[in-house]
Symmetry: C2
C-alpha cells in the first residue's frame, strides 16, 4: 500500500507550472514580429501589462485549476434524472474563475469583458488548457458563443444574453451534432417550427454537447442548429437558434423551464471532468428558440465559432504537449534507474535516449507555441489595422495557418503524450502517476472541431488551390526571410541548410498540388493529410529557426536559456524536419495504392 499512497501523492504534486520564460519571450517575439506597438488602439495593452496578466493567470492555473484536473479525471461527472453534477470542487472553481473576470478576458468591455488583445489572451488560454482542459472548455464556449452573438445576433438578443455570458453568469452550449450528422452537419434533422410571436419551436435530439447540462451556472444558452420546415436540403437549409435552458423574461430574470432535457452523458476515454451531453429539445413541444442572423445561414455563423475553436484546438495541442513534458521531465529528474558510462546509478534523464524523448517534447511544444502566439498576434493586426490590404493579407495568412495549426498540433500532441508516457516506463501505464490522463485527454483533439482529414481538405482546396497558392507563397516568403537571417549566423548553418532543402521540396510538391491535371480529386484527397503534416513540420521548424536567430542576439543576456533555444532548433531540424520532408515525398509519389486497393 505504501507504493500506492506514494504514487497518488506524486500525481497530486506533479502539478502544472506555467512555462513563464517561454511564454513571456515568445509573446514578446510575436508582439515585435507583428509590430503591435504600431497600433494606437493597443497602446494600453503593452508587454508590461501582458506580463502582469500572465503572472496572475499562472497563479490561478497552478493553484486552483491544476489540482482539480486529477479530481475531474478520477471522479468524472455524474448523471441522474436529467441532472449533471460536476466533480467535487468544480462549482467553486467556476465561481472563482468567473469572479476573477477570466471568462471575458478577450471580450468587449461594453458587455463586462476586459477587451484584451489576442496576443495576451493566447498564453493565458494556454495555461487554462494545460492546467485543466476538461474544466475550461466552458470558457472557449463563452468566447466563441459571444463572438457569434456579437457578429450575427439582433440587438435585442445581444442585450438579453451577452453580458450574462461575458461575465459568466450563464454558460454557452453548442448543439450541432446528431447521431447521423457529425462531420457532415448538412445531414441534421432537428426541427425549428416558426411561431406567431416570431420565435421558433425547437424539436430534436443532439449529442456530444460539451457542458450541455451542468450545475455551475444558473442558465445555459444553447446555440442550436436546426431546420425550418421549408428549408432547402443539406447544409444550405440550416439555421442557428438561441435556446436558453430557462426562458429569459423581459426584465432579464429567469422564467419557465424551456423543455430541454439531458438524456445522458458519455462514458469517454478522457476529459472525464467535462460532461458531454445528449440532449432532447422539445419533448413536450415547449422548447422556444430565437433565430440568430438570417434564415438558412446557420452554418456561416457556426464557421466563425469553428475557426476560433480550431485555433483553440491548436493551443490544446501545445498545452497538452507542455503538460506531458513537465510531468515527464520531473519524473526523469527524480527516477533513479540504470547506470551512466562511469557505472554510477543515475536519474534517467542522464540516459541519452530519455533526453532525446524529452527534447522531442520540448522542441515540438516550443515550435508550436511560437506558431500559436504568432497567429494570435496576426489576429490582432487583422482586427486593428487601418490598412485594408494589410488586413486582407493577415486574414489570408490566418486562414491558411488555421487548419495547419489545428491539424498538426493536435496530431503531434497525441504523439507527444505517448512519448511522455514512455518516459515513465511501466509507471506510465499505472493511472496513479497521472501521465496516462494526458494521453487519454489528448485523444479527442484530433477529432473534434473538424478531424485532421477535414482540416487537410480545407487546407488543400480552400486555402491553397482556391487562391492558386498565393497565401502559401506569401508564407514561404516569410520563411525565406527567416532563412536568410539564419544564414548570417555561423552556429545556425546546419539547421538553415536542412530547412533550405525542406523549403525547396515544399515548393516542388506545392506545384504538384496546384497542378489541376496532376491529380484526381480522390488522389489529392488521399495526399492531403501528408501535405498538412509536412506544412506543420515546416512551420514549426521555421518558428524554431526564427527563434534561434533572435536568441543568438540575446545570448549575452541568458546564455543557458538562449543557447537552449538554439539547441532546440538544431534538434528539431535533425530529428523532426526529415519527417515533414518524408510527407512531401509521399505527396510527390502520388496515391496509386489508395486507388488500387479494393476492400
Amino acid at each position: 500500500m505504501v507504493l500506492f499512497v506514494w504514487r497518488l501523492s506524486r500525481r497530486q504534486s506533479m502539478s502544472y507550472q506555467a512555462p513563464y520564460q517561454d511564454m513571456q519571450w515568445l509573446m514578446q517575439q510575436a508582439y515585435q514580429a507583428q509590430q503591435l506597438a504600431n497600433f494606437d488602439s493597443l497602446a494600453d495593452f503593452d508587454l508590461d501589462l501582458a506580463n502582469a496578466i500572465i503572472d496572475e493567470a499562472s497563479k490561478f492555473a497552478s493553484g486552483v485549476l491544476a489540482p482539480l484536473n486529477v479530481v475531474g479525471d478520477e471522479e468524472g461527472c455524474h448523471f441522474a434524472d436529467g441532472n449533471v453534477t460536476t466533480p467535487q470542487g468544480w462549482k467553486d472553481a467556476y465561481a472563482q474563475f468567473r469572479d476573477a473576470g477570466w471568462i471575458g478576458l478577450a471580450l468587449p468591455e461594453e458587455y463586462g469583458g476586459q477587451g484584451l488583445p489576442k496576443y495576451i489572451a493566447q498564453p493565458v488560454n494556454e495555461m487554462w488548457l494545460s492546467s485543466n482542459l476538461a474544466f475550461v472548455m466552458f470558457a472557449a464556449l463563452a468566447q466563441g458563443g459571444s463572438e457569434i452573438l456579437l457578429k450575427f445576433a439582433s440587438d435585442e438578443i445581444k442585450a438579453r444574453y451577452l453580458s450574462q455570458i461575458v461575465t459568466g453568469e450563464w454558460t454557452v452550449a453548442m448543439a450541432l451534432t446528431e447521431p447521423n450528422a457529425g462531420s457532415d452537419l448538412g445531414a441534421l434533422s432537428t426541427k425549428a417550427l416558426p411561431q406567431e410571436d416570431g420565435t421558433y419551436l425547437i424539436k430534436g435530439q443532439k449529442i456530444y454537447i460539451t457542458y450541455g447540462e451542468h450545475d455551475m451556472a444558473d442558465n445555459i444558452v444553447h446555440l442550436v442548429l436546426a431546420r425550418t420546415p421549408d428549408a432547402p436540403a443539406g447544409s444550405r437549409g440550416i439555421s442557428l437558434f438561441a435556446v436558453p435552458k430557462y426562458r429569459v423574461q423581459a426584465d432579464g430574470s429567469l422564467g419557465e423551464f424551456n423543455d430541454i432535457r439531458c438524456t445522458g452523458i458519455e462514458h469517454k476515454t478522457g476529459l472525464h471532468g467535462s460532461p458531454t451531453c445528449s440532449i432532447s429539445y422539445g419533448d413536450n413541444d415547449a422548447c422556444q428558440g430565437e433565430l440568430i442572423g438570417e434564415l438558412n445561414q446557420g452554418l456561416m455563423a457556426m464557421f466563425v465559432l469553428m475557426n476560433e475553436a480550431r485555433l483553440s484546438c491548436g493551443m490544446q495541442g501545445v498545452a497538452l504537449g507542455e503538460l506531458g513534458f513537465q510531468k515527464a521531465l520531473q519524473y526523469a529528474q527524480e527516477r533513479v534507474q540504470g547506470a551512466g558510462y562511469d557505472g554510477q546509478r543515475v536519474t534517467i534523464i542522464e540516459h541519452p535516449d530519455v533526453k532525446r524523448m524529452l527534447l522531442s517534447l520540448r522542441a515540438e511544444t516550443f515550435g508550436l507555441r511560437a506558431l500559436g502566439y504568432q497567429i494570435a498576434a496576426m489576429i490582432d493586426v487583422a482586427e486593428q489595422s487601418d490598412d485594408k490590404d494589410q488586413r486582407r493579407a493577415m486574414h489570408q495568412q490566418i486562414a491558411l495557418l488555421t487548419p495547419i495549426f489545428k491539424g498538426f498540433s493536435t496530431e503531434q500532441a497525441n504523439i507527444m503524450a505517448g512519448t511522455a508516457v514512455q518516459v515513465f516506463g511501466g509507471m506510465g501505464f499505472v493511472e496513479e502517476t497521472g501521465i496516462a490522463q494526458v494521453m487519454r485527454d489528448a485523444r479527442i483533439i484530433t477529432i473534434y472541431e473538424g478531424t485532421t482529414g477535414i482540416q487537410s481538405k480545407d487546407l488543400v482546396y480552400r486555402k491553397v488551390r482556391a487562391d492558386k497558392g498565393a497565401a502559401v507563397q506569401a508564407l514561404i516568403a516569410s520563411m525565406k526571410a527567416s532563412l536568410a537571417a539564419a544564414r548570417e549566423i555561423a552556429p545556425l548553418q546546419a539547421s538553415a541548410s536542412r530547412f533550405d532543402v525542406a523549403l525547396e521540396q515544399l515548393e516542388i510538391s506545392l506545384s504538384q498540388v496546384l497542378l489541376d491535371e496532376a491529380q484526381s480529386n480522390a488522389g489529392l484527397d488521399a495526399l492531403s493529410v501528408p501535405f498538412l503534416m509536412a506544412m506543420g513540420g515546416i512551420c514549426c521548424s521555421w518558428q524554431l529557426l526564427q527563434s534561434a536567430v533572435t536568441a543568438y542576439g540575446e545570448l549575452a543576456n541568458d546564455e543557458t536559456y538562449f543557447g537552449n533555444v538554439m539547441a532546440l532548433c538544431d534538434y528539431y531540424s535533425s530529428y523532426h524536419l526529415p519527417h515533414a520532408q518524408a510527407s512531401l515525398t509521399t505527396v510527390m509519389s502520388g496515391s496509386q495504392g489508395v486507388d488500387a486497393y479494393r476492400f
Copy 2:
C-alpha cells in the same frame, strides 16, 4: 438511452475474426522461404495440418476469447484480502483453453504438449493476442516459463513442475521488477537465504507481476529473481528460483501455503482483465524456493524468456494492429456520413482519406505479420537444422530481428491504434464502441519486456556493432535478392525503386553507426531509436515487396486478393517507407541537439 444500448451491442458484435487468408498465405510463404519441407523432423507438421489447426484456433478465438475481451476491460480484476478474482467468464474460459490443449501447443509432447513448430504456433498466438490480450498473457508465461525450466532446471524440478505447467494445471508468474529495479534488474534486492535442506528462504517485495495471483488454477509457480547473501553486486549476483504458491509434496500433491501474499493489483490504463500484482514473499519467513540453474546466473536464464517475450510483443503489435483495423474497417463500411463526388451520401470508407487510414493499418499489419511469421520459421530452422553453420546464421538473424520486431511493431501498434480511433471520429472517444480499449491496451507494449530505448541499444551495440555489421549485411543481402526479383516485374518498378533508394541510405548510415570514431556513446545512444525505427520500416517494406513478388505469380488464382497485396506494397513504399528514410537522415545528421541542450 437507445443510442447507448446500440453502442454497447455494437461493441459486442464488432468482434474479432481471424484474418484467415492472410495467415494461411503468409504462413505458407514463410514455410517455403525457410524451406521447412526439407526437415524430416517436421514431416508430421505440414501446411495441411497447419491450416487445420489455424481453423480450429480461430473458432476458439472468435467464439470464446473475443467476447470476453470487452468483459475484461469493463469489469477488470478484483482484489480483496490478498485474493484476486478475475472478470466474469475468465475462469471458465481458462478451463476450456486448458482442456483443449492450447497451452502446450509448442511445448514438448514428453510433458503433455503438442510439440508444434513455431511457424504454426505463431499465427495461433496472433489470434489469442488479437482476441483477448489481457486473458492470454498466462499462455505466454507458461511457454516462457517452461522453456526456462527445460533449459536450466534440474530433472527433479522439471519432474515436479513441467507437466503441470504444460497442461495448464498450474500457471507461471515471473517476479522480476521491484520498485527500484525496473529496466535495471541489477538493482534488485529480494533475498534468498540458503537452508540446510538445499532450498532457499525467499524474502522481498516484487511488483508488476502479471497473473501473480488469480483464481483460475490450483497453483502458481513463481519464477523469482533474488540475491543470495554473498552474491556479487549488480546483475552478476542474481539467481533464479522456483517458488510455488503452495508447496509441492513428494507425491506431487499440493502441500502447505508457501507464504506468498498478494498486496495489491494495479489500476492500469489498459489490460484491465489481466491482474498486475504486487507480491510480498516471505512475510513470515516461510517462503521456500528452489534454485534453477547455477547460482548468480539468473539473468542468463531470464534472457531466454526475454527473447521469447520480445518476439511475442512484436506479435502483440501485429495482433492489436489487426484488431484496430478490423474494427475501423467495419465501422467505416457501416457509418454513413458526408457525400461522394456525385453528391450522394456514402459510407465513410468512400472518403479517400478514410481509405488512406485503413490502408495504413492494413499495410503495416500485413508487413509486420509477414516479418513475424518469417522469424517464427527461422526459429524452426535454427532448432531443426543439422547444419551447424545454418543454425548459427539463423540464430544471428533471429537475434538481429528480435529487437527490431519488438521495438518497431509495438511503436507502430500505438500509432495504428490512434489511427483506428481516428476512423471512428467522435465515436472513437466513447468507450462503448470499444476501439479506445485497443489504444489503452496497446500503450504498455512499447514498455514491458524492454522499452523501445532498450531494444534500440540492444540492436545498435549487441546486434550491429558487436559483429561489425555482419548480421545486418546478411539481412541486406536477403533484401537485395527480393529487390532483384521485384525488378523483373513491371508493375513493381515504382516500389522497387523506392526500396532501392532506402537500402542505399541504410548502407550509408550503417557505416556511420559502425564507425568507432564517428560517434560518442551518448551520441549513438540518442540515435539508436531512429536507427531501429528505420530498420523496422525497411524490414516491413522488404516483406511487402517480397510478398508482392510472390503475389504477382499468383494473380491468376485470386486477382482481388493478390492484386491487393501488390497495392499494399505500393502504398507502403509511398506512404510509410519515406519515414524510415527520414529516420536514417536523422542518424546521418548526428545528435548535436541532444548534447547541446541543458535541462
